[in-house]
Symmetry: C2
């Protein structure tokens, strides 16, 4: 990482460290500028030199939280990989990162989730970016002959629904021990083999299966 | 419905009506026996004749909430249907019921979710029953040649993960407009076509797709 370019930027990073520590200690609900200023030993007026309002502070905190996830997405999108492998890594690498964060400090993780629930608008940009990159993988998959007979939007929506438990951080709170990279891999395989294909017309099975006559 | 067989049973049903009305009005968190007794115009001692403790009351309320969903599962399991249709109805009919309840009275729906979060042990029986019935459908599907090379437990777990957004009532709160019976049908088709099949060995596509040479 380059050194912060300005004193303001260095101050912002320090204040974000302090905000993170506050969230760790007391949870994320209703964190106020006054409280952060007190924890940083500065006047509220001084704090506003670094963040013009609470929204700007939250956006910067969200930016820091999402930065490594965005880096993963960009790296995967830029990689020379077949679409199936790309989609797997797109979901699996972020899932593993999220699970590590959760297991390292579950309370902190929950505090961030609460913050995200309270300020969904800052989360939404990240979700939309994920959809944008996923649609690029979908287009590549379609070029390679997968996901036939679906619009890009429908494919993105259906895939998001099928892998939801690996994207939604809330799912870790009650499903952690049932989630695994191996299962995610099987789900991505299932998507590539089956999604968009016509069930009735499918020869599919390696073993012949009973044909239902109506 | 048959008439309640005893006065105690009739009293229980009336008290459950009153409890439901209370939850509707003030939310489900920390509902107490004292509060219910007051709303019913009886002494707490009298209330305990009908429900021996709060746990018994919650179990009865959960029983009433889950009864129509259990009836759907039992009806679907008993039906003479191919496994794909059975699995679709198993999830779709309960999803539609849940969505109707949510749209009719979103606040009431949220109150019940809070109650369920606070008393997960009463919800767990219902979840386990769902897994039990799903495993029966999985066995039938395997007999019909689907879901090859998977254990029953793994198949149940993977299917639950892929249709999670149609089972988890929380998902309605933020995904309602993105969920539909049609998409659920496409997901079930995808499961039947693809789950458990080997991605590498799959001829699959109706259109030939680019083979990746490594």
């Amino acid at each position: 990482m380059a050194r912060p370019q300005t004193d303001i930027e260095a101050g912002r990073q320090e204040l974000l460290d302090i905000a993170e520590e506050l969230v760790r200690k007391r949870g994320g609900v209703d964190l106020s500028m006054t409280e952060l200023a007190a924890a940083a030993g500065m006047s509220p007026a001084n704090l506003y030199r670094f963040f013009e309002n609470k929204e700007a502070l939250l956006e910067a905190a969200a930016g820091r939280w999402f930065a490594p996830k965005i880096a993963i997405m960009e790296e995967v999108i830029a990689a020379e990989l077949p679409s199936r492998e790309k989609m797997y890594q797109f979901f699996a690498r972020r899932f593993v990162l999220m699970r590590d964060q959760f297991r390292e400090d579950p309370d902190m993780f929950k505090s961030y989730l609460e913050l995200g629930d309270q300020h969904f608008e800052v989360v939404k940009g990240y979700v939309d970016l994920g959809d944008h990159y996923l649609s690029e993988i979908v287009v590549q998959a379609m070029d390679e002959g997968y996901l036939p007979d679906l619009s890009i939007d429908d494919a993105v929506s259906l895939i998001n629904q099928m892998v939801q438990v690996y994207c939604n951080p809330e799912a870790l709170l009650y499903l952690d021990h049932k989630l695994s990279e191996e299962k995610l891999g099987l789900i991505v395989d299932t998507i590539f083999i089956g999604l968009g294909r016509d069930f009735e017309e499918q020869p599919g099975s390696r073993e012949p299966h009973i044909k239902i006559v109506t």
